[in-house]
C-alpha cells in the first residue's frame, strides 16, 4: 500500500469553491474525466447538509504491461464518489474509490475543502489524500505489486496536478460570471 498527500490554497471563497466543484469537469486540462453523473442526492439536517453520490467516468491510456495484466484493452474506468457539504462546519468532503479492476488496484481518495484559517472569507484550503493498494485479490510477485503501485502513484500525482490547474480555470470562469457568493 502506498500513500499520496497533497494540499494547496485556492484564492476563492469557500462557498464559491463548493459551487464550482459541481462544474469542475469538463475542463481543458483534466481531459481524462469524460463524464460525471449524479446517482443520489439528499438534503439533510434542516438544509445544512447536502450528500451526493456520483459516478465519474475516466478514459486514459494504459501502458502495454498493464493491458497484459488486465487482460483487456478497455481504457474506460469508473469511480464512485460520495460527497458531503456541511454548511455548519463549512466543509466539503469527497470520498471516492474505483469501481472496476478492484482486485488489481484499489484507489481510495479523500478530498476536503475548508475555509483558509488565516483568510476564511477569501481563500480556501484544499487537502487530498489517497491510499493506493495493488493486487489485494491477485497472486503476483511483490516486485510487480510495487511496480503497479509506483505507476499508480505517478499517474495519480499527474492527474492531481492537472486537477489543480483545471479547477483554477473553472473557478476563474465562475468568478467572471458572478460575484454573488459572499
Amino acid at each position: 500500500m502506498k500513500l499520496f498527500n497533497n494540499s494547496y490554497e485556492l484564492d476563492y471563497p469557500w462557498n464559491q469553491v463548493t459551487a464550482a466543484n459541481w462544474n469542475k469537469y469538463p475542463n481543458e486540462v483534466s481531459t481524462h474525466v469524460v463524464a460525471v453523473d449524479v446517482l443520489r442526492r439528499e438534503v439533510k439536517d434542516s438544509g445544512n447538509v447536502l450528500v451526493t453520490e456520483r459516478l465519474i467516468t475516466v478514459q486514459q491510456n494504459i501502458p502495454r504491461w498493464l493491458i497484459f495484466l488486465l487482460g483487456s484493452t478497455q481504457n474506460v474506468s469508473y469511480v464512485r464518489e460520495v460527497s458531503t457539504v456541511n454548511l455548519q462546519d463549512k466543509t466539503l468532503t469527497l470520498k471516492s474509490c474505483n469501481l472496476n479492476y478492484v482486485n488489481l488496484l484499489k484507489v481510495f481518495e479523500t478530498v476536503q475543502y475548508t475555509p483558509h484559517p488565516k483568510d476564511p472569507l477569501d481563500r480556501t484550503l484544499f487537502k487530498q489524500e489517497a491510499q493506493i493498494s495493488a493486487c489485494t485479490g491477485c497472486n503476483v510477485s511483490k516486485k510487480l505489486t510495487n511496480t503497479m503501485e509506483d505507476w499508480s502513484i505517478k499517474r495519480f500525482c499527474d492527474n492531481a496536478k492537472k486537477g489543480k490547474i483545471g479547477f483554477n480555470s473553472v473557478l476563474r470562469l465562475s468568478n467572471e460570471e458572478t460575484s454573488n457568493y459572499k
Binding site: V38, G47, N48, V82, L87, T178
Partner: protein
C-alpha cells in the same frame, strides 16, 4: 449560468443531465448556500434524468460493480446514503 456542463456516461442521458444540472446549480448557489432551502427543488428534472441513468447503469453492466461498492461503502458511514 454559462458554465460548460459535463456529459453523462450514457450519451442518451446528457441532455436530461444538463437540464438537471442547470436547475441544481441555480438552487445550490441561490438557495442551499444561503440557507434558504430544506429540500432539493429540481425534482422534475431529477426524475427524468435518474430514470435514464438507472436504465443505462443496467444496460452498460456497471450496476453490479456499483452495488458491490455501495455494500462495501467503507467511507460513507457518516454519509447516510446507505439506507436503501
Amino acid at each position: 449560468m454559462g458554465n460548460i456542463m459535463s456529459s453523462s456516461f450514457a450519451p442518451e442521458c446528457t441532455e436530461l443531465k444538463k437540464k438537471y444540472d442547470s436547475c441544481f446549480n441555480e438552487w445550490y448557489t441561490e438557495k442551499f448556500l444561503k440557507g434558504k432551502s430544506i429540500e432539493n427543488e429540481c425534482s422534475k428534472e431529477w426524475d427524468n434524468y435518474i430514470k435514464c441513468v438507472d436504465r443505462n447503469l443496467v444496460k452498460s453492466g456497471i450496476k453490479p460493480a456499483l452495488d458491490e461498492a455501495r455494500k462495501e461503502a467503507p467511507f460513507e458511514n457518516g454519509g447516510d446514503l446507505n439506507k436503501d
